[in-house]
Amino acid sequence: MSETIKNFLYLNRKAPYGTIYAWESLEVVLIGAAFDQDVSLAFVEDGVFQLTKNQDTAAVGMKNFSPTYAALGDYEVKKIYVEKESLDERGLSLDDLQHLTWEDEDDDWAEKDSIRLVTRAEMTAIMDGADVVFSF
């Protein structure tokens, strides 16, 4: 096996539930996490709606997959970039999103924030810096 570690960026642009993209992305991220790559997630445009807290799908008869985002830290997914402009356009702030964390084994398992709020310009640089971009 090659030991080259690539920088994978999963780009999420769709709202959850209306289409299957959000769930499919999450499934691919979890599968990909088994391959020891450098994984980042980006949430822009309607993709930011995937991370809202208090999702309750009981009345619509669909699976609520939002709790799975909280497990990403256990899969060594520590970089979750959320675009500020996308939140602003949708009347949202970080407080409306789940608080996602990961545990740093090099720092006595301290709990650290996974979500990083970035500007559109910073997101552009993150996209440019990725070796591979998976689009959903």
């Binding site: 709202a15 809202t52 309750d56 799908t57 009345a59 619509v60 949708r90 009347g91």
Partner: protein, 102 residues
């Protein structure tokens, strides 16, 4: 008897809402459902579109789709009525026809 229009796409991604509001005659009703419920949120870039329509059409939003997406009813633009599936059925029955904007 008038028409019940339904919009199930996000106003930030598709032009379905704008097309619907541009063609909904005065006195008709618009129901926001599935990803269309994002149009019911206050303080978004789509808010003015919906607020402008409230003078001439009745606007409804499907509560179960709000809850699925983690959107509290307190965030819904005043003047928009939240309905459940039973309310959806009533609206469909009360109107002459249902026109879907996909």
């Amino acid at each position: 008897m008038s028409t019940l229009h339904t919009v199930n796409k996000s106003p930030f991604e598709k032009t379905s809402l704008a097309a619907c509001l541009g063609h909904a005659s005065a006195g008709s009703a618009v129901l926001l459902l599935e990803d269309g419920v994002y149009a019911a949120l206050s303080q978004t870039s789509a808010e003015d579109q919906v607020k402008g329509a409230l003078d001439s059409v009745k606007v409804y939003v499907l509560g179960p789709d709000l809850r699925a997406r983690g959107l509290p009813e307190e965030r819904v633009i005043p003047g928009i009525s939240v309905v459940d599936y039973g309310g959806f059925v009533d609206l469909a029955a009360e109107h002459e026809k249902v026109q879907a904007w996909l």
